[in-house]
Every structure is written in C-alpha cells, then in structure tokens.
Symmetry: C2
Subunit: 126 residues, 2 copies
C-alpha cells in the first residue's frame, strides 16, 4: 500500500493542542494533575525548572485558555499564589495525552519497519 | 513528601528537543521513520496534512538540524524531491520518544493520584 493510499493525515496529529504542546506548559499541567489540591508558585517553579518570569508567562496562557485557576491569598502575612488545574484543563490534558500515546504507538510501529533502527523496546518499564 | 522534597525539575522535560517538539515536524519525522527508504514531497505533505509552504519551511529546519536529507532529482522528466531521515535524525527521534514515554508514565501516575480525574486507562491498546 502506498503512503497516499494509507490515508491522508495519518501523521497530522491535529489533536496536539498547541496550548499544551509546549515543553514548559506540559510540565506545569503534569505537575498540577499530580497535585490536585494545587501547588504554590515556588514549588511549581522548582518542579518545572522555570524562572519566575517564564512560569508567570506560561500560567497566564493557561489561565486565559481556562486550563488552570490561580488563587492569590495571604498566608502568615505573606502573599501566596496557588495554582490548580481546572476540570476543563484536566479534560483537555487527557485528550492531549491520548494523542501522545498515539505518537508513541506510531513510533513503535514505524521503528519495527526500519531495518536501520536500533532495537526499540517501545513502552518499556521506567 | 512535599513537592520540593521530591526533587527539582521532576516535570522539567528538558529532553523535549525543541526541533522535534513541534506538531508538524513531529509528524514529518514519524512519517520518515515509518518509510526508511524515503518519501516524495507530495506523500509527506498528504500524510502530515501540511501546505507546500509549511512543509518546505519545516523541512528546512530539519535539514539545518541534520535530522533529514533531501534528494532532488528528475524522474520521467519531472522534478522529484525525496526526503529521508538521517541516522542522527533517527537517534534524536528515539531520544525524544523516550521523553514522551516518560510524560505518558508521569500522567498515568498523576491521574491515579487525582480523585477528580475520570478513569485513565493509561497505555490502552488503540
């Protein structure tokens, strides 16, 4: 079967949500999914290895897209910022994850058709 | 264990190669890995659902990064462009895939800690 016969757009990956498919934002959302009660700004910054400015900028994008909420308060007389993923954020993250899993499956299949590729163990345990 | 104690940069995903971590280029490289003999420009465009201009632009980035080679020739008196992944391209694609697999594993672990998340079947068969 030729490439064209196999179907257009097989590797188009249109579901790779551009808001999420950015390294820093992907890390931020994964961190927030792992901490459903929310994370303070400093912990999020350290988990994702981002500067204050970069994290603020990416949080703004996620906020405007409705994927996170940011709660500013005072704790022990000091300002505190807590970031949480929203239910829409969780849903879109799951959708994005499904596309990533498809990429990994396509890659495993592709590697098996490539005699020049080193052995690819696919989804091996970490 | 607090987020900070768990270790800095747990979700930094620094291995997400910026050349590859772009939707169109990810599709192009996956297509080329699946077709190790190479793909003519038209087939690559259809597989990835890109315009001529977008595909040319992304191929230029991949070419300059040493991840693909582009062979222009004449077939039946018509110009033909064949794109192939290079061995460096294949190696960096594998490295990138390893990080994607880590993201998928982190997400599966994260979802299991989130009582608000719908059931996540992780790496379920397609």
């Amino acid at each position: 079967m030729s490439a064209a016969e196999r179907g257009d757009g097989q590797y188009a990956y249109e579901g790779l949500d551009r808001v999420i498919h950015e390294r820093a934002r992907l890390g931020v959302l994964t961190s927030l999914v792992a901490h459903p009660k929310g994370l303070v700004f400093g912990d999020l910054r350290r988990l994702c290895q981002l500067t204050d400015g970069n994290l603020s900028r990416h949080l703004q994008v996620l906020l405007e897209a409705g994927l996170v909420e940011v709660v500013k308060s005072f704790e022990h007389n000091r300002p505190q910022t807590v970031c949480k993923i929203t239910s829409e954020g969780r849903a879109r993250y799951l959708d994005y994850l499904a596309v990533l899993e498809q990429v990994v499956r396509d890659a495993a299949a592709a590697m098996q058709s490539d005699p020049a590729a080193p052995p690819f163990t696919g989804l091996a345990p970490a």
